[in-house]
Symmetry: C3
Subunit: 458 residues, 3 copies
Amino acid sequence: MRKGFFALILAAGKGTRFKSEKIKVLHPLLGKSMLRLVLDCVFKLKPEKIYVVVGCQKEEVMKEAPPGKVEFITQKRQLGTAHAVRAAREALSKEREKDVLIVNGDLPLLRPETLKPLLALHQKKRNSLSLLSAELENPTGFGRIIYFGDEMRVVEERDATPSERKIKEINAGVYLFKIKDLLGALSKVSNQNKKGEYYLTDVIEILSQEGKKIGIHKTTQTEDIVGVNSRFELAGATEVLRERKNKALAEKGVTIYDPRTTWIDLNAKIGPETIIYSSVIIEGKSVIGSQCWLYPFVHIIDSRVGNRVKILSSTMIENSVIEDEAKVGPFTHLRPKTVIRSRAKVGNFVEMKNTIFGRKSKAGHLTYLGDCKVEEEVNIGAGTITCNYDGKRKHKTSIEAGAFIGSGTELVAPVKVGKKAYIGAGSTITKDVAPESLAVARSEQVEKRGKAPRKRGK
Amino acid sequence: MRKGFFALILAAGKGTRFKSEKIKVLHPLLGKSMLRLVLDCVFKLKPEKIYVVVGCQKEEVMKEAPPGKVEFITQKRQLGTAHAVRAAREALSKEREKDVLIVNGDLPLLRPETLKPLLALHQKKRNSLSLLSAELENPTGFGRIIYFGDEMRVVEERDATPSERKIKEINAGVYLFKIKDLLGALSKVSNQNKKGEYYLTDVIEILSQEGKKIGIHKTTQTEDIVGVNSRFELAGATEVLRERKNKALAEKGVTIYDPRTTWIDLNAKIGPETIIYSSVIIEGKSVIGSQCWLYPFVHIIDSRVGNRVKILSSTMIENSVIEDEAKVGPFTHLRPKTVIRSRAKVGNFVEMKNTIFGRKSKAGHLTYLGDCKVEEEVNIGAGTITCNYDGKRKHKTSIEAGAFIGSGTELVAPVKVGKKAYIGAGSTITKDVAPESLAVARSEQVEKRGKAPRKRGK
Amino acid sequence: MRKGFFALILAAGKGTRFKSEKIKVLHPLLGKSMLRLVLDCVFKLKPEKIYVVVGCQKEEVMKEAPPGKVEFITQKRQLGTAHAVRAAREALSKEREKDVLIVNGDLPLLRPETLKPLLALHQKKRNSLSLLSAELENPTGFGRIIYFGDEMRVVEERDATPSERKIKEINAGVYLFKIKDLLGALSKVSNQNKKGEYYLTDVIEILSQEGKKIGIHKTTQTEDIVGVNSRFELAGATEVLRERKNKALAEKGVTIYDPRTTWIDLNAKIGPETIIYSSVIIEGKSVIGSQCWLYPFVHIIDSRVGNRVKILSSTMIENSVIEDEAKVGPFTHLRPKTVIRSRAKVGNFVEMKNTIFGRKSKAGHLTYLGDCKVEEEVNIGAGTITCNYDGKRKHKTSIEAGAFIGSGTELVAPVKVGKKAYIGAGSTITKDVAPESLAVARSEQVEKRGKAPRKRGK
């Protein structure tokens, strides 16, 4: 592919069948918006420039593009695909001898390898127009391609006759035009049809009638040709992406026991020899190292996990870091800004928030650590709670290396427990504890013989 | 459909392949029994009257019908489908000129739109019998339709020859009879076959031989024609219903990220723009509002959730109410009779039972509230426990507006904490606390310098 | 099948496409290694002896066979399948008149019923070689069978011409040889091919050219013929096994609501009338009784569950025993060596480890019991913690029948609570409590009127 070309992505329409305040191309699949997926595909083809036609919710749409790489063109009213392309007329007319690749923004499954043969065909044959077609088992929703003698046209489904609807070769909504031919034909498109819209597909018939050279690349990658028009179709397209992602991970050495119940966002990365059980969900830009074990019902969001880490069942991790060989879970919630240092162990109804938890330290049961710094080799007993909020402000807790916090301890922040200090079980600690000190705050045990029966049902 | 007709549903058989003490038609699919699904379908066709033939476990079967709308007929012994219809002879013979729609009770996927063409055909052609057929890729288990000249008959699979078994047009088990013709033929059915049963399908051959007018509506809705004969087939049929339910929700504007791992009972309702992650289960008559977020591993049973509510991962909610903009989870268990008022926050190993939790109040960590009333803007510290049971009876706890309960507090019920009162961390509160009071029940912190090393391994 | 035969399983190769330090045949499917699955299948055919050719990681491979039942033969370098069989030459040449069944170790879906017709054919026709073929929709990865006149050969995919690749009849990798004919041909196999390996498939052509009698059994059980060459294919094969397992359970009377999200290891057993919700995972040699209810997001490992047990949502159980009619969960973690006696109730953020929990006892909320013995009818209040670790050693807690442990109690082990004793809420118990005694260790509640406002934000 030597000769340069432009790309134009149509992303102005609302997509009424979504029944959503958010426009169609902003809906996500596996963590990326539909538009972003189309952009990512088109970027890989290396066009000279990418234009995106925006209309509804254009501010939100514009956030989807990597900054500086895309130029936006506003289509004020949405009067059809040809009308959308007309909005780009000025931009395109600067380079009338070049080509433009036009892609509908609702084709999130397109891959560069599916489009490359179309580009090659277009340039080799010096076509005025080359379009992508496919033969679909179920062509519903797509325009059908109709040949008559040397000419051809595309009939939109809603305008098709019953016998035309039986045609299985469809127009995918991806075109390469010689810009000057496109611009010439565009001005001739009318809106005399059922919906009163200007269809880009009419350009095809016009060019065909004018005897311009038109080529069709019929792709066998039919999986890519899925136009997403409803939330149910969105789920179907997402499933295809999930299979692609899970397969790519498996080929790199990740074991995914049950790909159908595993959800891994497109942006997530996972190292080899990691084993992922059923029903694991990894969102955002999470990075998981190698030789990890992720047990079932784990939900990880935007977090970094080192190597040889075990994350046990029913654990939720958000915006946190877990270092090598740590063990987290089951039933653990790591909230944002938590760091679990290597070989630490955290689990069984333990929550941490904005906490650094030191190397080889342990917090194994029923514990809440918030705004806390724990050094290495600390033992946090069951039922330890940092009282970090006094009703008005948050305060910090600091626990130095080797300290032992007895079970059922409340640490009323701000408070500091010194190195190798020992806190007796059941204490409420309100003052700093010196290194190596034993601190206890509890009452004497009183026993009243024979009084238990009366106590029942006081 | 002007002319009235009766409906007769056959629900007497046990279904031995289920290996269940419960009879086949009582087994549920997506929260509704098989029989109830057939009844719901038939109701929508508006018959004048519905009869259900019951036999095994008839008391339980009778509970499946909405009260007053259905008449039950007992078949004492189960000697075949014709024998079941004979049990209804008396009821049917009152209106011999009318028609009766007979449906096997094990067809849970039938939809009214699939049966309507059969009714229309029957009445238009004035048939003695009209039956529903379908051409199935895998016809196993169904009777096959055999034509010979003008006549036709149905051969049950167990009585079919190998070449008959290759026939793909099957008898769905749905019939419309002119009542008088049915009754005439019924008495001629014999039980001379492998199983020694009276087959309703023999009536077809009898009417055919008598030259009565028989029509067949071959439906293209083959998805509806699934006879459920085992628990594995039950799971397969449930999957079809789930796809229908999830698709219907998506069309109304609900985003279901992964329909294949999402289980939403048929009776559940969900508002538009609500987003449902993978692996969410919603049971019973739950109602979820609009613009909610349901994270993974959430299990909701018979509960009402308002609008813009967030329910985070691994949360179980039973028979509770959650008002608008509340946030619940992760790792929360709301047990029956709990109400979470609007904009309240509950989460991280918190359990509530029979508790009203006030507007904007928070219970964020490791807490158990049982038989408790919490007013608005209360802060419940981590590790707060209502001691609502004294070994004999349950008692109530009341916490008034704006109170602050320090972490690690036990509230020994019956007890009341007044408005804007403040309880120090680690206290066991056994007496009522006056409004605006500060209450503490804890020991002095004692520190023994240098004693920590000896304490380890006492 | 009268005549004896040997079996030879090829398990020496690494399987580079797995990108794993562990060799291919050791990777598990539903709790059993690929090799073990092949062994299990071959065992059921009752060969006189089974040889397994091992090479890479032979120590680990040898652990996969039940002790004493299999003989291992080492192939030092991996130079192809014929080379692997040559390694067994000495063993086989003892009984040259007998037959040997050779099976590739990467065919985990083979079932005895699929191989029996091959054995029957071989013996009936007195073939020199009988091989298993199948016609696959997608033959990729398998050698193709090519017939020419009376002769036939197998061409490996990598050596096949484009037109040969279109052949859909494939060589499954399962052979029965007359040993003397095999040994004769083996020495003629060369490594003159693209990979420079000795292919066992060349033996076929050699025997064919020599006019030996060759038979082919083309199986219709194409589901069995899946060669697993990558982790993604492993997941696909696992899905087939899961469907088989779940179907077998359903036929025995287990209700599995959603087989696609249910993971039950091959070794697990489940009794009839047990109901399993979506997203349940049962691993290892777990045994679940009859009439149990397993709610969603339950993860059970190597445990025994009695009859009529309820396990509620989000519960993890490892190496534990749960007796009849107990109720466990939601949000419970039973760690190894825990026994829940009949009719006991455990749930809501409760963890147990090495604990015997008595008949009809209850631990309903936020509790940790470690190294503990609880007798019958004990009530463990919310927030009870056994302090079983003192920083150096673990100690035991013992709670006798009928005791009542108030909420928020720490039991500092070693400690014993006597029969029917009563512990007041919020106590830290450091000394044994006598039977029927009331024990309390807490401070007086002090109230400072009007001081709450100042306390906020101390």
